[in-house]
C-alpha cells in the first residue's frame, strides 16, 4: 500500500522567549506513515506532540530537521494541501460569517465552481445537521455547532486525506457517535483519515491502525489488536503502560 502521509525523522524545537528553559523539543525524530484508505488514530497524553505533528504536516511549523510529505509532495508546497481536509483543535471561525458563507469562502479557495459549491454546501450542512442555522452568524453557535461547522469545512473539497485534531472534543455522546459514523462512511468511500483523540473507546471502534506518541517520540504503531494482545485485554491499560504510568492493577 502507498503511504500518502509521511514524516521522516521529524524534529521540532521551539525556541521561544516564553520557554524560559531555553529550547523546548516537541518532536524527537518522529517517523510516521499513513497508508491510503486507512483510518489512523493518533494517541498520546497532553503535550505529547500530536498537534505539533499535524502543524508540521500542514506547513504551519517548519521542522528543525527532517521532512514531511503529503501525497508524495513536500508539505511546504501549497499544492500538497489541495486534496486534504483539516480540522484544527479548538475550532474558531469568522464569527461575523454564517456557516453557509464560511463554506462558500473556503470552497472558493479550492477553486470549486459555483454550482458544485452550492451542491457541496447543501450536502455538508445536512451531514453535520446545521441546515437550520445556515444563515445565522457563527457568533451565535454553541460549541458543538462550531465543531460541526469545522467538520463541514474540512470536508468542503471532498478530500482524499482528512487530518482531524480531536474531532469529537466538545461534542455530546450523540454528536460523537455521528462523527464516528462520518469517519466510517468516509472510510467506506476509500478516504484516508488521520486523527488524534483522547477517546480510546472511539479509537478502538473506528481505527485500523493506531500510533501512540509520548514526549515527542512515537512509542508504538500498529493495528489495535497488535498493541493490545501481548500485554492486556484493554487499550486503555496498554496506553497507560506505554506512556510509563504504572496502573494499580498492574502492580
Amino acid at each position: 500500500m502507498a503511504a500518502i502521509l509521511k514524516a521522516e525523522n521529524l524534529r521540532v524545537e521551539f525556541r521561544s522567549r516564553e520557554a524560559a528553559q531555553g529550547t523546548k523539543v516537541a518532536l524527537r525524530g518522529l517517523n510516521l506513515e499513513v497508508n491510503a484508505g486507512e483510518v489512523f488514530g493518533y494517541l498520546g497524553p497532553n503535550g505529547a506532540g500530536k498537534t505539533t505533528t499535524m502543524n508540521v504536516l500542514l506547513g504551519f511549523v517548519q521542522p528543525t530537521s527532517g521532512a514531511a510529505s503529503l501525497f508524495g509532495i513536500d508539505v511546504r508546497q501549497p499544492i500538497a494541501r489541495q486534496r486534504i481536509g483539516y480540522l484544527p483543535e479548538l475550532t474558531y471561525y469568522y464569527k461575523f460569517l454564517s456557516a453557509e458563507e464560511l463554506l462558500r469562502f473556503y470552497s472558493t479557495l479550492f477553486g470549486l465552481s459555483r454550482l458544485e459549491a452550492d451542491r457541496r454546501i447543501d450536502e455538508l450542512l445536512k451531514l453535520v445537521e446545521l441546515e437550520h442555522a445556515r444563515k445565522r452568524p457563527i457568533r451565535t453557535y454553541s460549541k458543538g455547532m462550531q465543531q460541526r461547522a469545522g467538520l463541514a469545512q474540512a470536508l468542503i473539497n471532498n478530500p482524499d486525506l482528512l487530518v482531524l485534531d480531536e474531532p469529537t472534543s466538545g461534542l455530546d455522546p450523540l454528536g460523537r457517535m455521528k462523527v464516528r459514523q462520518i469517519i466510517q462512511r468516509l472510510k467506506g468511500e476509500g478516504k484516508t483519515v488521520f486523527f488524534s483523540s483522547h477517546e480510546l473507546g472511539e479509537v478502538e471502534t473506528v481505527c485500523d491502525r493506531v500510533g501512540i506518541i509520548h514526549q515527542g517520540e512515537l512509542k508504538v504503531v500498529g493495528p489495535i489488536s497488535e498493541i493490545r494482545q501481548p500485554r492486556h485485554a484493554n487499550l486503555e491499560q496498554a496506553f497507560l503502560e506505554i506512556i510509563g504510568f504504572e496502573t494499580q492493577s498492574a502492580s
Partner: protein
C-alpha cells in the same frame, strides 16, 4: 487571483458588518452639518472653512479606518485561530497577505467614495459647482496614500505582536510623515553630523505621503494637477506598496503559525 479576491471579500464583509465605519461617517456628517449651520457675518456663501474641516475629518477618519482595520487582520486571525483552517487550504501566505491588503484597500475605497460624495454634496450646496475631475484626483490620490499606509500597517502587524502598539506606531509615523516629511531634509541641515545623516536617510527612504495630500488644491479651487505628475505619484505609491508587501511576505513566510 480568485483566492486573493475571496480573502479580500471576507475582509470587506467584516468591515461593513462592524459598526466603526458608520459611526465615523455619521460623526463626520454631524460635525460638518453643525459647523455649516453656524452663521458668520450673515454670509451663507462662506464655504472654504467648511471644506477644510470636512476634508480634515475625512482624512482622519480614513486613516483611523485604514490603520485600525489593517492592524487587526493578521493578529485576529492568529488569536481566533482562523489562520489554521485557512492556511490548511491551498493558499500561500503571500496570497493571504495580498488578499488582506486588497480587502482593506477596497474597503477603504468604498468608505472614501461615501465620504467624498458627502463632501461634494456639502461643497456644491453652497458653491453650486461640481469640479468632478478635481475631486477625482484628490480622492484617488488619497486612496493610493491609504494603500501605502495599509501595506505598511500589514508589515507592522507581522513585526509587532500587539495590534494596539502597531496601530499607535503607525499613527505616529503616518502623522509625522504627513506633517513633517516634506521638511525633514531642512531639519537635518540644522543638526550635528551623526544625527543629520540619520535624518537624511529617513528623508530619502520614507514614503512621502504628503504628495498625496492635495486638500489645499481642492479647498481653494486650484486648477487640476498635471496628469503626468498625477500618474507618476500613483506609480510612486504602487512602488512603496510593493516594497512593504514584499517585506511582509518575507517576514510572514518565516513565521510559524500555531
Amino acid at each position: 487571483m480568485k483566492t486573493i479576491l475571496a480573502v479580500a471579500g471576507v475582509v470587506i464583509k467584516e468591515l461593513y458588518r462592524r459598526k466603526d465605519f458608520y459611526v465615523l461617517f455619521i460623526v463626520t456628517m454631524l460635525i460638518c452639518l453643525i459647523m455649516a449651520s453656524v452663521r458668520i457675518f450673515n454670509d451663507d456663501k462662506i464655504i472654504r472653512y467648511l471644506k477644510e474641516l470636512c476634508l480634515l475629518l475625512v482624512w482622519v477618519s480614513s486613516l483611523v479606518i485604514a490603520i485600525t482595520t489593517t492592524a487587526r487582520q493578521i493578529p485576529a486571525e492568529r488569536e481566533n485561530r482562523t489562520l489554521l483552517p485557512l492556511l490548511a487550504k491551498p493558499v500561500t501566505r503571500t496570497q493571504l497577505l495580498l488578499g488582506k491588503f486588497l480587502g482593506c484597500w477596497l474597503a477603504c475605497g468604498i468608505a472614501l467614495v461615501c465620504f467624498y460624495l458627502f463632501f461634494g454634496a456639502l461643497a456644491a450646496s453652497r458653491e453650486h459647482q461640481w469640479p468632478l475631475l478635481n475631486y477625482f484626483q484628490a480622492a484617488s490620490l488619497h486612496w493610493f496614500m491609504l494603500g501605502i499606509v495599509i501595506a505598511m500597517v500589514l508589515l507592522g502587524s507581522l513585526v509587532f505582536a500587539a495590534p494596539s502598539s502597531n496601530s499607535t506606531i503607525c499613527f505616529v509615523v503616518v502623522g509625522g510623515i504627513l506633517l513633517l516629511g516634506r521638511h525633514l531634509d531642512s531639519v537635518a541641515l540644522t543638526l550635528p553630523e551623526p544625527v543629520r545623516s540619520v535624518f537624511l536617510i529617513i528623508y530619502y527612504s520614507i514614503p512621502h505621503l504628503e504628495f498625496f495630500d492635495v486638500r489645499d488644491l481642492i479647498i481653494h479651487d486650484w486648477p487640476l494637477i498635471h496628469w503626468g505628475y498625477y500618474g507618476l505619484a500613483l506609480i510612486y505609491g504602487i512602488g512603496y506598496m510593493v516594497v512593504f508587501l514584499t517585506g511582509a511576505s518575507l517576514v510572514f513566510r518565516r513565521q510559524s503559525v500555531n
